[in-house]
Symmetry: C2
Subunit: 145 residues, 2 copies
DNA sequence: TGCTTATGGATAATCATTCTCTTTTAATAT
DNA sequence: ATATTAAAAGAGAATGATTATCCATAAGCA
């Protein structure tokens, strides 16, 4: 969420380049994704979009999410319980730190990650192309309660 | 899958200690979990159990999975598409290396993981209690094809 | 052997997500 | 500006994994 407007324009440009249509609903969905750091769920985006477009269908949100995943502009964060969350600002794989109490998600700096993946690549012979690194714990705020 | 029989006995002992009943179905489910390294899905276990107990219900497998998760004897590995997999041999969090071609899952040694988590804990103030580290890539066998 | 109660089995319910089908509309040409 | 047309929106049904319900069964123990 460094510069939401710039990010929005970048994604719109990419959509145009690939000849996808720019609809008001898509703009609203994109705006919801790029204007927050909470790693929103589909439900959150749906509720945001309905503020300006009350007739929006949940299916439209899902279809746009699929599209954005395909063009590589949002990152899907899988949860075991099914409730996926998304990152529209850093659409490339990166570690997440998730509070198990309040479900807040932040993006920590992890300087050791590159060394970790190359360690594994060397030891196993795998060509590592991607990762999903989720750390779970209790955030400072919840620790005080 | 170091010693399936020993592992089975250990889990049975734990169930007895906590006054859960030892049923033939539970033994069969446990056996399916501890006798493979493929990180099985519920469906896989269900099919294995049905070989010896054809009337077994899928609900029974799910109920046992929930129980085993609660007593800490299997580890759930979440996938974004919902199809969870389980590890009955190393029920504590550990990294997985997943081949995106053949879907094989192996458990690599990752010596840097402890340092990585403590680095993040120190930088963020979170109490890190668990993790889910999945590395994706192409295994040596699939690279040759 | 019988009693008690947890567990098993069958099936319905749930919930996120996907699909289907019809209507609307963005983008382009006229 | 208007017409054209194919993509996208909207509504609701369908799907698939998981969970809940409820009755029958059997594990564990006296």
């Amino acid at each position: 969420m460094n510069n939401p407007q710039q990010r929005l324009d970048d994604i719109l440009k990419k959509l145009r380049q690939r000849e996808f249509r720019i609809t008001p609903q898509r703009i609203a969905i994109l705006q919801a994704f790029v204007s927050t750091d909470i790693h929103p769920s589909v439900e959150y985006v749906y509720n945001q979009v309905k503020i300006t477009f009350p007739t929006t269908s949940l299916a439209t949100v899902y279809k746009t999410v699929t599209l954005l995943k395909e063009i590589g502009e949002i990152l899907e964060i899988g949860f075991p319980d099914g409730r996926n969350r998304y990152d529209g600002n850093k659409p490339y794989p990166h570690p997440h730190l998730i509070c198990t109490r309040c479900h807040r998600i932040i993006d920590p700096d992890v300087s050791l990650l590159d060394r970790l993946t190359s360690e594994v690549a060397q030891a196993t012979g795998y060509q590592i192309t991607s990762h999903q690194v989720e750390l779970f714990g209790v955030c400072p705020v919840c620790q005080k309660k």
